[in-house]
Subunit: 157 residues, 4 copies
């Protein structure tokens, strides 16, 4: 595993920020295992993460496993907060409400910062279940705190 | 995928309950993908879920991915609530606080009901990071609501 | 204490819904004690609750007490969910992130449903701190579950 | 309002810590308004807060208002984390699950730290409804993050 660059260069272009985000995702074995793709990431922390719903990501009823949906929320929240905090950040906590089972072909998690302080950002996230016809159904909402990482005290996502 | 039995037979023995729980886990492709094992499950909803921390479950710093830790909490909470609600249940919502990075050889999630109502149970969960020497370090705590499943309205875990 | 009407008449006008909401608030001794006022409430569950920040609502640093801010979130969430669930509803759970101290002259909580199911609604809420010059600063965000009340099982707000 | 001493003297006795805690409570106009009393507070962060359920603290069904229960959780969590963080701390966030309506004569909130880091502590809390006969019924559970206060960035409780 190649260690990803940890911080965002000052004055990075939007293209460089998305490339940085994708480099981080590619360096996460778990994200590679699931098949997540970073579709968008901006300097203001607006992020879109996508995940095709393959058989291996389901639970016993044929729906996306709750752990898959929470992975999407956790990771999107971390990106949203991490970007506005400068790159080195971890999820301190989050809360998720599941709204309906995800049975479509793909999950999309969209997250953005709600408030950015010196050392932490509070972000929220919507997870959508994309149907075969392309329609998006909201299937989960999440809210959480991302902390900048001065030390290795907290659990990174 | 063989469909797992959905309800717990009345008067099931503790052995039958654990066997039921393992049947459910084996029917979850995502849990099989990660390698989770159900170590204990009692009629009172006390559950212990274990997961060896293999390379594929890590993030870019070599720690367990946050999504792996939240999967453990989500799944253990669902078992704890599901058992006391009779078997057919889903996680409505949960909240998790990450306390430290998990860098050990195995994760253990222990959950139990805090309060059981007619149609939902509130449960809490502790996730431990098991060190090479067997010592357990608390790495996350979670609290959530499990709802019995009259219809397919909510997202199952 | 006059007992408030418990359900919203079918086909109630928007004016009747706001009047209903104000009747409920007037029947809550705690809301009267704090001085909360229902500024807006629509059939779609969009609610605005206001609270002048008088001396008695502060903590030891002169800011609005966290319990005051959480009261605003709890109550606004309950209105938002209660309206779309037909009137008899309670807050099952919520989560709040405090973003900055509230030091202004008034708090405004705005809440709305995110998803409405048969027996519960998931809502979110933003709490603003209104400055002397009328500017609004976001000081807390919350997300929670409101459940319809078939029995008296859960703790009403 | 007399400004309370903000930090706990090093080597303070358990008696001094409880006295410090009571001084802080007495300096919170909102806590005085509600009538909260600090029954116990230890150097390890174990706290017990009590509140007689007078008429003014109820909602329209005669139960303790949800905002009163969340006040108890918020304040107990802040004490638990504040003590182990040295005295100057605020609640960053918390989550609460209401389990049943509180209809008794008194609320008791018990909180304690689950994990203490350099700049924040994660704590949990149980709120009990004390019946006329003295029996305690668990009516809410909460979990939250308390942050030490280097600046005035966050909303104090």
């Amino acid at each position: 595993m190649t260690q990803a660059s940890q911080t965002i260069p000052a004055g990075a272009t939007e293209e460089a920020i998305l490339a940085f985000g994708r480099q981080v995702l590619a360096a996460q074995p778990f994200s590679v295992l699931l098949g997540a793709r970073l579709h968008a990431l901006s300097s203001s922390g607006v992020v879109e993460l996508r995940l095709p719903l393959t058989e291996k990501l389901l639970q016993q009823h044929g729906f996306a496993h709750g752990g898959v949906v929470s992975y999407m929320a956790d990771n999107a929240l971390t990106y949203a907060g991490g970007i506005v905090l400068g790159g080195m950040a971890v999820t301190s906590e989050f809360k998720i409400n599941y709204l309906r089972p995800a049975t479509g072909k793909c999950l999309i998690a969209r997250a953005q910062p709600v408030h950015t302080g010196k050392s932490q950002a509070v972000c929220n996230c919507q997870v959508f279940d994309v149907q075969e016809n392309g329609a998006e159904k909201l299937c989960a909402v999440a809210q959480g705190t991302i902390a900048s990482l001065p030390s290795r005290e907290k659990s990174p996502s």
